[in-house]
């Protein structure tokens, strides 16, 4: 029966997970799905649009957290970031894919909307909450990318383990520093 957009997205997630973004080409997906390349363009308008779907699917496993009490917002933010990291860290080049999706169609990434609402809920004014989310997101995606490059660059198994731990450590350090900074920048509030 006919190919669906969902199947196409799943195939794309599969190739990304196994081989990375460099191998994720429309032609390769067509081969994998036993159709001609042109067929894919009946289901999606462009490769970029497909990548937005992929990004949404990658974040689809992150459960929506309950809106916390304002004084609990920082902890909730930390927990959400950790969830996002867990969902992305094993997928090669996931940071790049999320980045692209977030600039192309921010509404498609619901968990990043929750992040913004938590920041506002903590008492940060709207515009600055926007900046603060950017800060947290750049850190999250940057530290995921750095961690994956570190794994790719070294071959020694023992160095791999160290990269594993220090990636998590660097991530947590950054989250701590940013949340501390936010609490000083907005002293009247909880964050």
């Amino acid at each position: 029966m006919a190919l669906t957009r969902e199947q196409l997205t799943d195939a794309a997630v599969g190739v990304l997970s196994e081989f990375g973004l460099a191998d994720l080409s429309m032609r390769r997906l067509a081969r994998e799905l036993d159709v001609q390349v042109g067929a894919l363009y009946w289901h999606v308008k462009s490769k970029q649009e497909l990548l937005v779907d992929v990004a949404a699917k990658l974040l689809g496993s992150v459960p929506e957290p309950a809106l916390p009490a304002p004084e609990m917002a920082p902890m909730a933010i930390g927990a959400l970031l950790q969830q996002l990291r867990s969902a992305l860290i094993t997928i090669p080049d996931s940071a790049e894919v999320i980045q692209l999706a977030q600039t192309m169609r921010p509404e498609a990434l619901a968990p990043l909307g929750w992040l913004l609402s938590f920041l506002e809920h903590a008492g940060i004014p709207a515009e600055q909450a926007f900046y603060a989310r950017h800060l947290l997101l750049n850190h999250l995606l940057g530290s995921i990318a750095a961690h994956q490059e570190a794994r790719a660059l070294v071959g020694e198994p023992e160095a791999q383990e160290h990269a594993q731990e220090s990636g998590q450590e660097a991530f947590e350090y950054g989250v701590r520093v940013i949340l501390l900074g936010l609490s000083l920048e907005h002293p009247k509030n909880a964050v």
Copy 2:
């Protein structure tokens, strides 16, 4: 006379500045320099290697600041970050190019070395100074990329002006938050 590696790098910087990374192909550079594509590969080993040279040249205009007194380190860090931003903000896709160079050959980007030494000079232990630099760098490059996408996405001239100001504002906000956070995370020291 013969093509030089320097000329090749300059041509690459030129295409990047005028047309962006998507148009910066080896074949285009060959056309621009009136040689066959293969000729370029006598001067550089790969396109990636060329991009490292491009990144180094982009940061080449940033002057080396004097090592500040420890209690002046935060200001010096802020000033250096502003210099880096100024050097990159007008060059399309510069964040991506710097990112690539920094993971491929970090020693090639001297100003990022100065940043690390300033952080250590402020009394942050070596490993955490590494994390802290990552944090600052992700923010710098992330806010440059966001600013350039904002410019690209909107056509209205008045929205352009707003993007101009708010890009700078978002950048300064982030630097402030991170430096504040660092000062709390490392209380015995100046930062």
